[in-house]
Each structure stands twice: as structure tokens, then as C-alpha cells.
């Protein structure tokens, strides 16, 4: 096992981690401000990926597609906020789960209707389809490094948005007391639509970026959605800092588990069995991580309003 391989796996972990962060940040932002649990977040991820792939296919430019994906996801988010989510803020979580679960059914079937049942393919933008040399030999795909860059930029951007801008101030105020900021003259409906659209756009960003690494297909958002849930449960629901730490942790545990666990098992078992059990353990690893974190801190690593 060379140093380059380990380094490569670490970069893969980071890439998965930052994408999960972009996904989880929107989820946790919406929960923090509106108290809404949104299962349809994965659908917005799918919308971003589909529009990006479609427009990129029509225009030949990935970047135009990316822009279209972001706009489409944000627009879809704003529309479902105004039509559906708005009625759910005062409901209990059970109603929110069911309503947003219904939205998943609608989005999945609607997407299949519009784009067809075949998966779309999104090419890595020309110029980024190369790899850069790693210290210690071997190369690493440039596009994945760009994804890491996007993730870090999103984290910094969100931090600045929330801590330095007027909108961020309103978001923070909305988290602690929604009646009060309404009384102070902030148009709460517009604020909520805006926050939801930002969260949706983040999901769309993640979907479009990851769309170039895998096939763009109906239901692609669901596994990511559940990983994002694990992330925000570990980090503390509503905490963006928690989402960042949780995402990196989950990225590390998942990627390294898949890369190394079967080798660990191979020390004690014959190769075929070691591969099987290694894969099984690796797919359970992040949930075990979650269980351990919760046994230790039931409200996550960075509890909000503790």
C-alpha cells in the first residue's frame, strides 16, 4: 500500500465530504430557520443534475449547464416553498415527512415524464478532464479537485453570507425568534422563500457537480439525501458548522472504509469472504459512526439551542 494510494483515498474522502456538506448545508439551513424536515431535498439535487445535463448537452458548455442547473433547482425550490412548504411550517414533523415524501414521488415520476426513463450523461468539462500528478507518484483527476474547490468556496460563502450580510442577520434572527423578526418589519414569507431557494440551489449545485461523475438518473438524490441526514444528525441539526464537520467525518469513514476494510479482513479471512464482509462492514460504517456519536451526544456534535 503506497503513500500515493493513501493520499488519493484521502482526497476522495474530502471530495465526498465537501459534496455532502453542500447537500447537508441546505438541509440544515432550512431546518434551522423554518423547523422543516425536507425529504424532497434529494429531488432538488436531481433537478439540478438533470437541468445541468440537459442544457450542457444542448449548448455544449458544462458551465452554462451548471448555471441552468442552479437556476432550475432554486426555482423549483421557490415554487414548492410557496405551494407546499409554507403550509407545513406549523405542522408536526410527521406531516412534513409525509408531504415531502409525496413530493419525492411527484418529482421522480415528473422527471421521468419530462426527461424519459433513460439516464442522461454529463461530460466532465473539457480542460478539466485531465489529472494532476500527486506527490509520491500517480495522478488525481483535476475535476475532483475542482469539486473540492467548489465545496470549500461554498463553505466560505455561506459563512460570509450568514455572519456578514443583512440577509444573514435576518436568517440568524429567524432561527432564534420568528415572531420577533416579523414584528420588526422583516417580510417573513419572502425571507423563508429565499432561504428555501438558497438551500435548493445548494442541492442543485451538488447534483450538477456530481452528475459529471456518475449517470444522471431518476432517484439519484435519495442515497445522497440519506447520507446528508446522517451528516446533519452527527453534526447537530440546524448547525452549519456541525454539517461541515459531520460531512468531512462521514466522507472519511465511508471512503476509507471502502478502501481499507476488506484489506483488514483479509488478514484473518480468505480473500473472497474478506471482500464480501469488508464491503458489508464498509457500507455500515457511517451508520455505526452515527450510533456512536449519538450514544455519546444525543443532539449531535454541535447541538443548536442546547
Amino acid at each position: 500500500m503506497s503513500a500515493a494510494f493513501i493520499f488519493e483515498q484521502l482526497l476522495n474522502s474530502l471530495q465526498l465530504g465537501v459534496m455532502l456538506f453542500v447537500m447537508a448545508a441546505g438541509l440544515t439551513l432550512v431546518f434551522g430557520v423554518m423547523g422543516l424536515i425536507n425529504l424532497a431535498h434529494g429531488s432538488l439535487y436531481m433537478v439540478g443534475a438533470f437541468f445541468c445535463a440537459w442544457v450542457a448537452g444542448e449548448t455544449g458548455s458544462f458551465w452554462v449547464g451548471l448555471g441552468a442547473g442552479l437556476v432550475a433547482a432554486a426555482a423549483a425550490g421557490a415554487v414548492i416553498e410557496m405551494l407546499v412548504m409554507r403550509r407545513l411550517y406549523d405542522r408536526d414533523h410527521l406531516d412534513q415527512v409525509l408531504a415531502t415524501f409525496s413530493l419525492i414521488l411527484i418529482f421522480n415520476e415528473g422527471t421521468r415524464w419530462v426527461f424519459g426513463a433513460q439516464p442522461l450523461y454529463l461530460d466532465i468539462p473539457a480542460g478539466l478532464a485531465t489529472s494532476v500528478p500527486l506527490p509520491g507518484g500517480g495522478g488525481y483527476p483535476l475535476y475532483r479537485l475542482v469539486i473540492i474547490g467548489f465545496g470549500i468556496a461554498t463553505a466560505v460563502g455561506l459563512y460570509l453570507l450568514i455572519s456578514r450580510t443583512r440577509l444573514g442577520m435576518q436568517i440568524r434572527a429567524g432561527e432564534s425568534d420568528r415572531e420577533m423578526i416579523g414584528a420588526l418589519g422583516v417580510d417573513i414569507n419572502t425571507l423563508y422563500t429565499l432561504v428555501f431557494a438558497i438551500g435548493a440551489m445548494l442541492a442543485g449545485l451538488a447534483g450538477a457537480l456530481v452528475g459529471a461523475l456518475q449517470s444522471v438518473e431518476v432517484g439519484m438524490g435519495e442515497p445522497v439525501l440519506i447520507l446528508a441526514f446522517v451528516v446533519i444528525v452527527i453534526g447537530g441539526i440546524g448547525s452549519i458548522k456541525g454539517a461541515l464537520i459531520g460531512a468531512i467525518l462521514v466522507g472519511l469513514v465511508d471512503t476509507l472504509g471502502r478502501a481499507f476494510l476488506h484489506k483488514l479482513f483479509a488478514l484473518a479471512l480468505p480473500p473472497a469472504e474478506a471482500n464480501g464482509y469488508g464491503a458489508a462492514m464498509a457500507s455500515m460504517a457511517i451508520y455505526l459512526l452515527m450510533a456512536i456519536v449519538l450514544a455519546w451526544r444525543p443532539k449531535g456534535l454541535f447541538p443548536v439551542n442546547a
Binding site: A99, S102, L105, V230, A291, K299
Partner: protein, 329 residues
């Protein structure tokens, strides 16, 4: 009291209707509808299980497919070994496969109950939205375990060639199989009624409404909720075992989170905390699926729209709509 009596009439009507459909189908020699009725009874049984946790205990479990699937796998794997004539386990004790229905049911209940005890112990330390997400995540963990373990064909699943045998009954006969499912469904509802009406049920109700108050009168909420959670999982696990026998097939799809969502929908559509609600919910769901599915392959789209409408505008489910508000909360 009048409303309560309305609900009682309605419940009897629901139970009789579910019985009448397969009998009618049997008379008209339409075996497809007998199978549909068995599906409704089995899914309703899964809902009855969830209702105990969700409706009466206020524990919004989004992971009940885990217990449904584990029950299914327990039954499926044992009967697979019985068919192959191989052993399930050699060490520390030898466990053979089995094709005796009662053994399969017992295994399903035991496995889903044991796993629910572990999941519940961790999950019940949290509440609210954390509980929803954690139960979902644990169910996914078991789903991925079933997919990645090669022993039982992973994602492809296991076909089962024979129905198990229950002394004195021909389980391979569709109508007999329906009666067995129906009897178990009514038994589970009866058990739920008894549990909810007991001292334990009163404590559970109180834990749902106000844990602090329950602690103040000297009852710790955690063991009460955990017990109810385990019972709930056992009932759903039994439903899983029946489902696998009905289909003659077990695969990770019965562990998927879509199924968790659907079981939840059965409970909500019928009415949360209504004993016969899950029958109505499951029946409506299957009818919608069959009817809309007959017109268009996009039935999920319309199902989604209908469900969304129910959640947004028709709170209390169908029984709430027909029998009025009966619960005091």
C-alpha cells in the same frame, strides 16, 4: 360516546369488507383479487405494528421497513435452507432451515424484536426529528447490509419455491393463506386494543403526551417507550414474514426506505392512532395503485398528488373524516 360508537360500527364494517372481497373473488373464481386482499391484510398488519409506536407512543419511526424486511429475511432464509437441505448456522449451535410456518413466524418475530431492541435503545435517547432520521438511517444500514452480503444473493434476492406448512391447513391455497393473514391481522389489532387499554398503555399514552409528567408520577418513560417500540417491530416483522411467503421471493427491496414511507402512509391515510386505520390506509393505497396504475404507468405522480392533498387538507385520515374526532389530545 356517540362518536366512539360510530367508530365501532365503522371498524366492524371495515373488517367485514376486507373479508367480503376475497370471498366474492373466490366465488367468482378471480384468484388475483384474493392475492390483492392478502396483500392488503399483510400491509395493514405492518401498519398495525407501526401504529403502536407512531400512533399510540408518538414515536415517528421512519425505519419500520427494517423490521418488515428482517422478518421477511428470517422467514425467507430459513425456508431457503430447508428447501436446499442445508444448515443455517453451525456454530455455536446448529440451526437447520425450516419449513414449519410457526417456526418461521417465531424467527421473524424474534429477529425483528431483537434488532428493534438495539435500534430502539440508541434511537430513543433522542426525540423529535432526530428520532425520525436515526430510525431511517438504521434501516438504511440494514438495507445496505442485505445488498452487500453475498450469502443470500445480495441485491438479486432469493426465490422461495414452497410455502411453509401449518398443521391442518393448506397454505398454498390462496384463500386459506388469506384467512391466515386476516386472522393474524385481527389478532394484532386485538392485542393493540388490549395493550393500549392496559396500565402499560396508559403509561405509553402519557409518555406520548408529556414525558416529564410521566416521570413525575414515578414511571420512567424510556423503558415504556422501548417496550412499545419492540412490540411494534415484532408485529411489523411478522407481516414481513407473511409478505415474503405471499410473493415467494425475498429481496432487499422489502428493506427499502420507500417501504418505510409507505407503511407510514397506511397509518396516516387511515388515521393515526385508530386501531382499524391501517386496514383502510393499506386498502386505499393498493386500490389507488391498482386503479391509477390501470390508466397510466405514471401512477406514482398521481398517488403523490393525492397523498400531498390528504396531508395538507384532510388531517385525521379517512376514519377521522368518517367517524369524527375521537381522541382527546
Amino acid at each position: 360516546m356517540l362518536e366512539m360508537r360510530n367508530e365501532t360500527y365503522l371498524n366492524v364494517g371495515i373488517a367485514l369488507l376486507l373479508l367480503a372481497v376475497p370471498l366474492g373473488a373466490w366465488v367468482m373464481d378471480e384468484s388475483y383479487y384474493i392475492t390483492v386482499a392478502s396483500r392488503v391484510a399483510i400491509l395493514a398488519l405492518a401498519g398495525v405494528g407501526l401504529n403502536l409506536a407512531l400512533g399510540f407512543g408518538g414515536m415517528v419511526s421512519f425505519g419500520h421497513a427494517a423490521f418488515f424486511g428482517l422478518g421477511g429475511y428470517a422467514a425467507g432464509v430459513l425456508s431457503h435452507h430447508a428447501f436446499e437441505g442445508s444448515v443455517f448456522l453451525n456454530w455455536p449451535v446448529t440451526i437447520d432451515g425450516s419449513d414449519a410456518t410457526l417456526t418461521l413466524w417465531f424467527a421473524a418475530i424474534l429477529l425483528s424484536g431483537a434488532v428493534a431492541a438495539i435500534i430502539g435503545m440508541i434511537s430513543l435517547r433522542t426525540s423529535g426529528v432526530y428520532f425520525i432520521m436515526i430510525t431511517l438511517a438504521f434501516a438504511q444500514m440494514i438495507y445496505y447490509l442485505a445488498i452487500s452480503l453475498p450469502t443470500y444473493n445480495g441485491e438479486d434476492g432469493l426465490p422461495l419455491y414452497l410455502r411453509s406448512s401449518l398443521p391442518g391447513l393448506d397454505m398454498s391455497d390462496d384463500l386459506t393463506f388469506f384467512f391466515v393473514c386476516y386472522a393474524l391481522l385481527l389478532l394484532a389489532i386485538f392485542l393493540s386494543v388490549r395493550i393500549v387499554g392496559s396500565r402499560f398503555g396508559a403509561a405509553l399514552e402519557c409518555a406520548r403526551q408529556n414525558e416529564t409528567r410521566l416521570s413525575a408520577i414515578g414511571i420512567a418513560p424510556y423503558p415504556v417507550k422501548l417496550t412499545a417500540f419492540v412490540f411494534s417491530a415484532m408485529i411489523t416483522g411478522l407481516a414481513g414474514a407473511l409478505f415474503v411467503e405471499l410473493n415467494g421471493f425475498v429481496s432487499p427491496s422489502i428493506l427499502s426506505w420507500h417501504l418505510s414511507g409507505e407503511i407510514m402512509i397506511f397509518v396516516i391515510l387511515g388515521g393515526v392512532g385508530r386501531f382499524y386505520g391501517p386496514i383502510v390506509g393499506a386498502a386505499l393505497f393498493i386500490v389507488l395503485e391498482t386503479v391509477i396504475g390501470g390508466y397510466t404507468e405514471r401512477w406514482q405522480l398521481f398517488l403523490g398528488i393525492i397523498l400531498l392533498g390528504v396531508v395538507l387538507f384532510a388531517r385525521g385520515g379517512v376514519i377521522g373524516l368518517l367517524a369524527g374526532k375521537a381522541r382527546h389530545d
